[in-house]
Each structure stands twice: as C-alpha cells, then as structure tokens.
Symmetry: C2
Subunit: 152 residues, 2 copies
Amino acid sequence: MTQTPGKFVSSYLLYLLAASSEAASHQFHIRVRELGLRVPEWRVLACLYDQDGLMITQLARYSLMEQSRMTRIVDQMEKRGLVVRKSDEGDGRRVRVHLTDAGQKLSSDVVEEAMEHERTLLSALNQADADRIKPSLERLLASLNSWNSTRE
Amino acid sequence: MTQTPGKFVSSYLLYLLAASSEAASHQFHIRVRELGLRVPEWRVLACLYDQDGLMITQLARYSLMEQSRMTRIVDQMEKRGLVVRKSDEGDGRRVRVHLTDAGQKLSSDVVEEAMEHERTLLSALNQADADRIKPSLERLLASLNSWNSTRE
DNA sequence: TCATATTATATGAAATTTCATATTTTTACA
DNA sequence: TGTAAAAATATGAAATTTCATATAATATGA
C-alpha cells in the first residue's frame, strides 16, 4: 500500500484526504468488484437504498460524478436489470431511477457488507479517534460545502 | 455543491471521506486546470517537488493511481518539457523522473498556491477542528495503511 | 400567450483509463 | 554459472470518461 511520500505531500491536507479515502475504500472496493459491481454502480445502489426514485442529476451529485457519466451508468444498470427509469409525472424532463427487485436485494446485501466493513475499520482505531472521526468529517464536509457554495 | 444524501450514505465513513476529499479539492483543482495542468500531472509535480528522481512506480503509488496510467502521464509531461526520464545507473529497470527547469518553476509555483489554498480552507474551520484535522487524518491514514497491508 | 431562459437528460467524438500481458533487467539459488 | 522468479516499465485493445452540445420539457415575464 501507499508509503508516505515526501514532506510537502505527506502532510498536505488534500493528500491526506484523498489518500485516506483511497486507503479506507481499497479493500471494500475489491469486494464490490467481486460482487460484479463497479464502484459507481455500488454508489448508485447505496443512494437508492436510502431513497428510491432519485433523479439522474441527484445520483450524479451524491455519487460525486458528472451527469453524463451517470446517464451511462444508469444505462448499464438498467440493461442489467438492477434499476428502471420512470419519467416523472409532473415534470417530463426528470427521470426517476428505481430499484428493481433484484436491485433492491443486491442493494441491501451490499449495504450490509458496507456497514460491517465500516465497523471493522473503526475498530482498528483507538477509541477516541473512532468516536470522533465521523462527526469531525461531517463538520469538515459541511464547512467545505458552504465555503464552496460561496464561490460558484 | 453536494447536498446531503440519505441516511445511510450521509453518515457512511467511506462517503464522508470521498465527499470531503472531493469538496476540499474542488476549487483548487479548477485552479490547477486553469494553470494548464490536469490533476494527475499536478500530483506528479508535487511528488517531485518533495523528491526529484522518483521512479514511475513510486509516483504512481504516491499519486494514488495505476502504474500504466502513470507511464502515460509521464509520457505527456515529458513531451511538454516538464520532466525528463533518466534510467537508473545500477538498476536498468528503473526509470527516474526528474523535473526540468520549467517543471521545477511550475512545481514550486503550484505548491505555493496549494499551501495558500490549504491555509484558506483551514481558516474556515473552528480553531479546534483546524488544529486537529491533519494529525487526526495522519493517524487514520497510518492505521488504514497498516490494516490494508495485513491483507494483501 | 409567445419568446426566451432554464433545467434535466442524452449523445457523438475525442481523450483517457483499465486490463492483460510483453519486454527488459535483476535477483535468488540449485 | 544457468535458470527460474521477481521487479520495473511499456503497450495494444477494449472500455470508460470527458467535453461540448443536442434535445426536450418547463418556467419566466413582457
């Protein structure tokens, strides 16, 4: 795995975040692929697990990717029978993405594994860090989001 | 920017990390592209700023990407005159990547902007969080890396 | 109500990325 | 030594991703 690079990079906030994200996800993403899913597909399943019928645009935003890419990911998942598109009555521009039965099953199975994996990761930390990490990231994220939204 | 998705996703550690990384990097990556660089190229410059003459494999690891992709990124940077390859005397398999003068100049300019950007981000946090975030991520990363290395 | 702007999604074409594997050089050791 | 394994990089071909823009539906407001 990632050894620590030199002194600027190794203590640079953006590196620490990207590297932590990568390191935390690594094993689980391998598992995701074993289950026949690509990471973006898993993200879609997770979003729809929380709230079925999200729009393409919302899925893209929550899954941290571009809309046109999400369109094609939904294409593939639809071909595979994991989701179906339904056009929104009331606003014909909107496409609502729904889990099929198979998608629902897969979705809850993988979410369960994800939660288990998370518990494992947290249990490798010392108690204090394990308790603080998520609330601390939530505050960071909120702060970053509001900072970003002031400049776009 | 990213609104908060549903209840599983929005408090899922891997989501918090990926979303924080994305949100923290967003504005700066726009700036990187304004400077005519793509993100992976910026990462290479940052690594070589810390330590000139790294191997392709090391650059790939530190920049969180695959070796064959790094080979092609170095190709492009070499064509652009930012770096040069030199083969390692002592081990002919190794390719050492060195900054050119232009690469060195660009590298330090962008690193400087990166540090300034980091200060700006940190100043948007409350004092306690700003003080704790980097050490806390460093511990997390160390823990994740050692956990990952036990299983590969 | 008509024209214009905006929003949501889709798509063609170019560029990048991935995956498997080839090539070259070193290392290990029988 | 000679030979097999390992390590570092490169590369072809397929797949994915990006970018700009098309298409379609809705909102806005003169």
